[in-house]
């Protein structure tokens, strides 16, 4: 019996069109736009000004506050201006525009491909290096990694869980990375274990990536503290709480952090970024992005510098199809639909999904037939149809009692509903309202 999480779950069509395609580096354009807010938390303070020469790895924006992450130049050239530009949020935000000249890297960065296995740094030194390199959660949440590696006082991590699940349909960026950077990821995991001071790590990989499981099992033989756990395919297994339940059979209580059950979870992409930051001194300036869609000519996994417009990635994959109705940054279940495709790649861009017009629009909502399907598939054990009704009628107290704030916004309810009801839209709205009320009560 393969392990999986114990409550709810769905099986959306995988559509992993770009599976098995190796990582291709895409050319650097003549201008890149680097947003100063690429993470959850406070935006960075720019430390460069117009006309400044930069190399790959030069600090562009300094982190302000604890929950924030540094931003480095992904290219070499001259700062053109600091101005507002659209990002995936649909708003104009502060960005650093850079005119690209050559591809010169900062001298401190080791740009060779040689594997550096040993790391003699202490936990604090590692976390400092991760902080300096501006690493954030690469799965798409973009939560600053150094924060997650600094457990609140009085808590103790027991096990590090590495998320190699990639349960979003279409996306294959993590899968490809696991196949091509297996050893680097394993070293990254060892470094992360040292950072949180645990001697056990488990990589969870869904069983639809047999090749990655086999490869990790083979290489992990020389990393005795790292286990590989194959998991039954089920969405949303990549959710932090679901993954911990699947791997450890422990459920994080409502409102608590994973550390409350002794777990710290990091994505495989993050483990790779940590390897590069700590062993190669390389800040987070590029990432793997899946460019895909049913009508895309050449679905692929590209290695793109931060700040490259999505237009370039789409062109690389064969151009925007005639039939395009919607473009999503991220996967189809939790990704964000974007209004324009000239926005830049950021640290959290795991995929660019192009959806044909036929599938882009939602169907007309019908009355709830009370089939109970949303209730039975909700991975948090919530009652989506009731939460939607409570939000419609603004019954916030009851919505709070029904744990609306536990919702992880995985979208399984809306995906499943035979009446095409926009359950998550309402729940998201209600969740925001209830969280606001709870915060106001605290103050």
């Amino acid at each position: 019996m393969l392990k999986t999480f114990r409550i709810g779950g769905i099986h959306p069509k995988e559509n992993k069109l770009s599976a098995g395609k190796s990582i291709e580096s895409i050319p650097i354009p003549s201008e890149v736009i680097v947003p100063l807010a690429q993470h959850i938390g406070a935006p960075c303070q720019p430390v460069v000004k117009r006309g400044d020469p930069v190399k790959v790895g030069t600090l562009l924006g300094k982190s302000v506050g604890f929950v924030s992450a540094n931003i480095h130049s992904p290219v070499s050239g001259k700062v053109k201006k600091i101005d507002k530009a659209y990002d995936s949020s649909g708003y104009k935000r502060d960005c650093v525009f850079i005119n690209v000249e050559n591809d010169e890297w900062d001298e401190s960065i080791d740009t060779t491909a040689a594997l550096v296995r040993d790391c003699s740094l202490t936990s604090k030194e590692i976390i400092d290096k991760i902080f300096a390199a501006g690493i954030v959660g690469m799965g798409g949440a973009t939560f600053p990694t150094h924060v997650k590696l600094t457990p609140p006082p009085g808590t103790k991590a027991e096990v590090l869980i590495i998320n190699g699940v990639e349960c979003e349909p279409y996306l294959t960026a993590d899968h490809t990375l696991m196949m091509e950077k297996t050893e680097e990821i394993l070293v990254g995991i060892e470094i992360l274990m040292k950072a949180v001071n645990v001697n056990r790590a488990v990589i969870g990989i869904e069983n639809n990536k047999r090749d990655a499981i086999d490869k990790f099992k083979q290489f992990a033989k020389s990393y005795p503290t790292i286990e590989v756990q194959s998991l039954k395919v089920q969405y949303p297994q990549g959710g932090e709480k679901q993954l911990i339940d699947a791997v450890l059979r422990r459920q994080v209580p409502s409102g608590a952090l994973p550390i409350s059950v002794g777990a710290v979870v990091q994505n495989v992409g993050t483990a790779f970024a940590v390897y590069e930051a700590v062993q190669k001194n390389k800040p987070l300036v590029e990432r793997v992005v899946t460019v895909t869609g049913k009508h895309v000519a050449n679905p692929c996994n590209v290695l793109s510098r931060i700040g490259v417009p999505l237009t370039d990635l789409i062109d690389y994959a064969g151009g925007l199809p005639e039939t395009t109705g919607k473009v999503v940054s991220g996967g189809p279940m939790m990704g964000k639909a974007i209004a324009r495709i000239d926005i830049p790649v950021t640290k959290g861009t795991s995929g660019v999904l192009i959806i044909p017009t036929l599938e882009a629009r939602r169907k007309l909502m019908k009355d709830c037939i009370k089939c109970g399907k949303c209730v039975n598939i909700c991975p948090m054990g919530l009652n989506p149809t009731t939460l939607m009704t409570l939000t419609e009628y603004e019954v916030w107290e009851k919505a709070e009692k029904e744990k609306i704030t536990d919702c992880i916004e995985c979208g399984s309810c809306s995906y499943t509903c035979p009446s095409d009801r926009p359950l998550l839209d309402y729940i998201r709205l209600g969740k925001g309202k209830v969280m606001g009320i709870m915060r106001a009560r605290k103050n």
């Binding site: 769905i10 459920q251 608590a256 925007l320 919607k326 639909a337 974007i338 979208g411 499943t416």
Partner: protein, 321 residues
């Protein structure tokens, strides 16, 4: 291009499941029982079933189109199911005008007065049936001989035996003789055909096992425990399980989405409730058959069950290791 992009919140894909898919799935599951009814009751079953479906669909269309002035949703298949289930719950010689009244009660009162599909509290077909049972008790409880085309009153021992020869499921008819119960509404003749329908619906994930299994297990255990003290044929659990409308009710009527609980635990409570009430009515009640009343009673309790029985929440119930 850019200003043409659709922007909407996630998720951006859908399972493709629709109300109609579920309803037509139920219709497919009803096919075996329908074929058996044709075999047993012949043309009468066909006429009654088709007429009942027409009455129900027309009632729904007229109410939606002319009274509510909405776009009719008869294509979703739910009125067709109500029509078939109503026909399945009446004797095969019921006059068509009575059936029409039943259809109007089922759809008009049972479904549309509450706001249509999903908003109704009681199973429309059962409400129609009980409406007829109370209004036309004679016509609703005079059972023609199976195997005959023309309506005939009363059954003789010979014909029941005759029936047993070519219908292995006829045990229910035997049991009915013991109870003095109905010997068969149109749709409840063959346990096998109904169970085939159940298997199909489970396979297609239209329903889960919780409701039918909890009803059948409850009826089986309840009557078996009585049978231990008083082993009269009237208490035989096997006969109880196969007789009357129990299987039809447990598989097709109690599992109606709108009138059954949302969570799995709620479904189990609901199923046990139906089983207990059914046996109580059958053994000690004034009516010989209790499934319809049991389901309607538990329909009424469904909102209460939904309020108090919650699904297992993440991190609350499951034990950590």
């Amino acid at each position: 291009m850019e200003n043409k992009l659709v922007v909407s919140p996630s998720p951006h894909v859908h399972s493709g499941d629709t109300i109609a898919k579920n309803m037509y799935g139920v219709l497919i599951a009803l096919v075996p029982a329908f074929l058996v009814s044709l075999y047993v009751f012949g043309l009468n079953a066909l006429i009654l079933t088709v007429a009942s479906v027409l009455f129900c669909v027309i009632t729904e269309y007229v109410i939606q189109r002319y009274m509510l002035k909405r776009i009719p949703t008869i294509a979703d298949g739910s009125a067709i199911i109500t029509g078939i289930l109503l026909a399945f719950n009446v004797p095969s010689n019921l006059p068509l005008w009575i059936l029409a009244i039943g259809a109007i009660a089922a759809i008009g009162i049972g479904k549309m007065s509450f706001g249509g599909l999903g908003n109704n509290i009681f199973n429309p077909a059962l409400l129609g049936r009980v409406f007829l049972l109370i209004s036309f008790p004679t016509q609703m409880t005079s059972w023609p001989l199976p195997s005959t085309m023309a309506p005939v009153d009363g059954a003789t021992a010979a014909t029941v035996l005759e029936n047993m020869k070519y219908n292995p499921e006829a045990l229910s008819s035997v049991s009915d003789m013991f109870f003095g119960l109905e010997s068969g509404s149109i749709g409840e003749m063959s346990a096998m055909a109904l169970l085939l329908g159940l298997i199909y619906m489970l396979w297609k994930r239209i329903i889960t096992w919780h409701i039918p299994v909890s009803i059948l297990v409850t009826v089986g255990l309840f009557t078996a425990s009585i049978y231990l003290f008083d082993p009269s044929p009237a208490n035989n659990p096997l006969i109880h399980l196969l007789s009357g409308g129990l299987l039809l009710g447990a598989i097709f009527m109690a599992t109606d989405y709108a009138t059954s609980p949302l969570s799995k635990n709620g479904m189990l409570i609901y199923g046990v409730g139906i089983g207990v009430v059914t046996v109580c009515i059958r053994l000690w009640g004034a009516y010989p058959e209790g499934v319809s009343f049991a389901i309607l009673l538990m329909n009424a309790l469904t909102p209460l069950i939904n309020m108090y029985v919650k699904p297992k929440r993440f991190g609350e119930v499951v034990k950590n290791v």
